[in-house]
Symmetry: C2
Subunit: 333 residues, 2 copies
């Protein structure tokens, strides 16, 4: 595998658009085909101890994923676990038949829980991916402290996560340098970005200029499907790497998957850059302020900007549906 690699998160982040409803045959075909297209890492869905559904990329346990994986293991198969939703005791030992790794996602207030959970992931033999959400919410010192704690677990990868879609190339480089200075070169760095300010692709291109031997793993999804403004598109970054680095990602297969599984979703659902999501990025607010509000109200761009400006600074990164509604009722008085 090259120093530059791609991780497709369609089945997981795209799930925010489909409520994780993908038919069993679609899940199977997408995983096998992404692998056939030489995508290096494939995120198959979420682990969630409490949910048990058919035709879904929410998996109640690790063994449930076995039936969806192709025989040929040319890619690494992953699932995401939110520390609040999957119990560490539900992690069954790695035996080579299910996923290869677990992406542990957590907020800043969940660090202790996340590290404990991560310990179980390692003990059970999985590749450990650490995904601290809203990375930019950590000061560089706080981030260094986090990295040092994570380092003790010897993870496979730590990701820079731009949950709100406003990190520039410069921002990524600053956090990357912390990792690069503190971690062994065999620990990879991931990039998970969102398109609120259309910055994702430029960051992914800039990564090629990084002066390091460390492997970077770029997250992307087919046609950018994902919550809010969506993700970097797998097809655009894969083709860019093909053109610039001579890689052999199979774009035809990616387009066939878009045709078969993403375009039908696009008929009724929407995602991607809008002026509303740009404004959430501009004012460093959680994008759900736009998503939740526009679900129930017809709000103009100008009114939405005024609405964002009345959110107390400390509440801008916290977004619960009832709070958005309560705030809007105050706004329209």
């Amino acid at each position: 595998m090259s120093k530059f690699s791609l991780l497709d998160c369609t089945l997981r982040d795209g799930g925010y658009i489909t409520s994780w409803n993908f038919s069993d045959s679609a899940i199977r075909d997408m995983i096998a085909s992404l692998s056939e297209a030489h995508i290096d890492y494939i995120e198959c869905g979420y682990l969630n101890s409490l949910e048990c559904k058919q035709d879904s990329t929410i998996f109640q346990n690790i063994n449930k994923i076995i039936g969806f994986l192709p025989e040929a293991r040319n890619s690494f198969f992953l699932a995401m676990a939110d520390v609040a939703q999957f119990k560490p005791e539900d992690i069954t030992p790695f035996d080579g038949r299910s996923i290869d790794g677990i992406r542990v996602v957590f907020y800043k207030h969940q660090i202790d829980e996340a590290l404990e959970f991560a310990g179980s992931v390692k003990e059970n033999g999985y590749k450990l991916f650490m995904q601290p959400m809203v990375t930019i919410d950590y000061s560089l010192n706080e981030y260094a402290a986090l990295i040092n704690r994570i380092a003790e677990l010897n993870p496979y990868c730590i990701s820079l996560v731009d949950s709100f879609g406003y990190m520039t190339q410069d921002d990524f480089r600053r956090y990357y340098n912390v990792v690069d200075n503190l971690l062994n070169l065999d620990i990879n760095v991931g990039f998970h970005s969102h398109e609120n300010m259309q910055l994702a692709f430029a960051v992914a291109q800039d990564v090629l200029n990084y002066n390091t031997a460390r492997r970077v793993i770029i997250d992307a999804s087919l046609y950018g499907i994902g919550r809010g403004a969506g993700n970097l598109c797998t097809e655009t970054i894969a083709n860019y790497y093909n053109s610039l680095l001579g890689f052999k990602y199979n774009i035809q297969i990616l387009m066939r998957l878009i045709n078969d599984y993403i375009m039908p979703v696009r008929k009724t659902k929407t995602w991607g850059f809008t002026p509303y999501l740009f404004l959430t990025g501009l004012y460093k607010c959680h994008p759900n302020f736009a998503c939740y509000l526009l679900e129930n109200h017809d709000v103009s761009v100008s009114d939405f900007e005024k609405f964002l400006l009345m959110i107390p600074y400390e509440m801008r990164t916290k977004c619960k549906k009832p709070y958005v509604e309560e705030l809007y009722q105050r706004f329209i008085i």
Copy 2:
């Protein structure tokens, strides 16, 4: 004015979406407000000797634009002239009351005509912007020859034009270097890009790393409105320059213009990145193969890819409606 500057082409390139129908009051407000937002160059519309309409950004003559310009001339006001649509004898002398400059747009087979037209632009006292469409269609040698011919006219600006939306940072740099080696430093370079492969913003960001004192002028439009996959967004690049360079583009004003004039258009019209337009970029085809075909036919992404692949190589950059239809009829047999 800084080394890095922005040109808003909403009223001209956005016209492909609105058939250039903007109300007179909208045109007036947009020009004045973009100028108030400190946008450096504002393209007011097209010059076209044959058309005469109200509530339109197609202007039959240069003096017609006077009534739309604000008194304070804090920005440069421009119009585009297609050498096939505006007669050089219709260029009236510059007197400081109408536009400051004319953007001369031409295809490779129109170079002689364009240079003659450009001579009239200069003779009449306007800033001359040269816009050779599909810049990548010129070999670097051909491009150098073109630049040398243009140099004799001492233009204000020459633009690198990615009409089909597939030029990468590296491509732009290669063509830029030709200009940079051949032209006096006081001649500016423009960048006009499209979003077929989502490359525009990365190119505009990379420009900040260019090792030159030459001024660059980046084209953009509000919410990216423009034909096919649209343009770089004025609001995203303006905010990026504000963040990185401490510029003072007024983003609030840009958002108000999007609210008042672009969102109403968006209710019935669409533009921006799609898998279809990605495919036109991938196979280096004119994006109108997607636009024309999808106007009249419901074609899947997979069928569209097969359709593009049957276009003879030499016809991929040439796209007329009847040809697209004829080809499609052959395709579906």
